[in-house]
Chain length 352, copies 2
């Protein structure tokens, strides 16, 4: 039996209820900009060891909550756990991004892919979720997450990160059928994975569509949004007698916020390339918005950080339904004290 | 005395005059996807040798005109010639992008930067322009180009390419004054450089703002668009008794097309993440639009290429003022015969 929730600002804001102040959390809040994270990371040996050890994953998840008093915790994990569990052999080489030992090359590769049982090869993630939920002890809600089917597919087909996505887009334009089979499997796997996270204790969910924004409008709908819709439709939306809100985030997807809102999700992530006032007009009034300070603002002076926080809050305005965040993950070389300045400014300027 | 222009479709389309068919050219049309380019590139030894040798630069500029019968030629050069001429020591290392030996680090570095005389340290570019213009012999117009002040500044401060632009954005948020001094110098340098290209024979101009789209809307206006405006205001707009049209292209800048149109430019480049019908609504009726096929379409089958070309032409519609192009530079691994399919499809489907 988990402890009752003390701070539910994040859940209420996503439900577009009135709140005393704007809740704030930060994408990649557990990460390399924190010296305490780097210590645990070194102890773990490598990144996947850290993800797959529930106690260590729990420790780094809680570090930014302890340090900054944020209003939500997010599971420490990687978006590529699913393809790894499908057998693609994920590895992180020093100084490089993720690489798959067995990337997807043919239709036969796609057909051979299993849809992983989250309580089997991904049990380590569920153990991390339940451990974190227990250790949070009701302080703030825990967000579970996954990459979107399209975003996972980009890494699975490219074999790692990419600049121009030539392989996965080559597949899209030369053999769209095979890509659809892959995306369908990814959507099933993500749905099972997120539902298992809720079962293990996640109180909110987020789907990161990091690379949906490299598609044309028509292809975004067909190859990314459609599969996020399948997931939203298949998710457990209640737990502990409360709604489990779902937030979708397509980086560089500002022009599609209206379409994204129609999926029936609760919140939309917005990057910093669009004003929140414009995002609100585009998204309509059925969803909350999360964002959208440029992460680079944190390289500036404390006074300029405060000014920029004020601008974001002002751009959103007084209506309910705002979750403050950066417009993308926090950068590695940011001074953690600058994040303190940001969080305190959000509190100060948004308190009713 | 240069030969009279035989094919002026590109210039007329940018002037939004009625045309018999939609003109077509391709960003990076002279490049590594062409075996004939690779031969000349190998002969030159390295990339900068190729840029700085007017005969070789002319040869590769004309290769795609000969092969595909395109409707415009574009000067073969690099956007970083200006910072190189300012003394930042540009180098291209094998397998990596451009690097500067002496990147901008301090205000003193910015203050010490000269605004280069294009007829001195950049004379090799002007020689290439006049050579190409002579060798084109009136077949199609010659486009001159430059990077935008902001885009040049990103490379100058980062010391090369970047993923998150932490250094130049750090400067933006911590010391915006210094960045403005740098951008002002870049704007002056670009204005002189483009006017010298017109003097040497360029019949149209294009400004590539590859990285304006990583800024917030307010910062885009203050740090990128403002300096493109200064350039547009300072350009020679007539040559050979004809208008010299100017096209601005901010990648991922679709939401700002209205602001860009107000600079008084003639054309706007549009990437593939926005439909041309929406781009037209946003940009208004004072400018032509260039674009916007996803470069990855060229990895698909000939039949799918033809279908996608048709969609782009249809999305623009029947109004005058369309220049067909990709939404970004052509990829290195594209089969040149697929570009032939694209060009022929544009001819076939757009002929009145």
């Amino acid at each position: 039996m988990n402890a009752p929730l003390e701070n539910d600002l994040y859940l209420r804001a996503l439900n577009r209820e009135a709140v005393e102040r704007t809740p704030v959390w930060v994408m990649r809040q557990a990460g390399r900009y924190l010296p305490e994270y780097k210590r645990v990371r070194a102890q773990a040996g490598n990144f996947m060891n850290l993800c797959s050890n529930p106690e260590l994953a729990c420790e780094v998840t809680l570090q930014p909550i302890d340090r900054f008093n944020l209003d939500a915790a997010i599971l420490f994990s990687d978006i590529l756990t699913i393809p790894d569990a499908m057998g693609l052999e994920l590895a992180f080489e020093t100084g490089e991004g993720p690489k798959f030992g067995k990337p997807i090359k043919t239709r036969a590769d796609v057909d051979a892919l299993p849809v992983p049982d989250p309580n089997d090869s991904l049990q380590y993630v569920m153990d991390a979720v339940s451990t974190i939920r227990r250790e949070l002890n009701g302080r703030v809600p825990l967000i579970g997450f996954s990459g979107s089917p399209w975003t996972l597919a980009t890494y699975m087909v490219e074999g790692g990160g990419s600049k121009d996505f030539s392989k996965v887009k080559g597949l899209l334009f030369s053999d769209p059928k095979t890509l659809h089979v892959l995306l369908e499997k990814n959507a099933q796997a993500v749905t099972h994975y997120l539902n298992a996270q809720v079962e293990a204790g996640a109180q909110a969910l987020m789907i990161f569509d990091t690379w949906g924004g490299v598609l044309s409008p028509t292809n975004y709908q067909a190859f990314s949004l459609h599969y996020m819709q399948l997931i939203v439709d298949g998710l457990t939306r209640q737990a502990d007698g409360r709604k489990v809100p779902v937030t979708l985030f397509t980086k560089n997807g500002g022009q599609w916020l209206d379409l994204m809102a129609k999926t029936g999700c609760d919140g939309l992530g917005v990057d910093w390339t669009m004003d929140l006032a414009d995002a609100r007009k585009r998204a309509g009034d059925t969803v909350a918005l999360q964002g959208n300070l440029d992460p680079s603002v944190l390289y500036g002076s404390p006074e300029s950080i405060r000014q920029e926080v004020k601008k974001v809050l002002h751009s959103y305005g007084d209506a309910p339904g705002h979750v403050f965040n950066l417009g993308h993950g926090i950068h590695q070389f940011v001074n953690p004290e600058h994040l303190t300045v940001m969080v305190e400014a959000v509190r100060e300027f948004s308190t009713k």
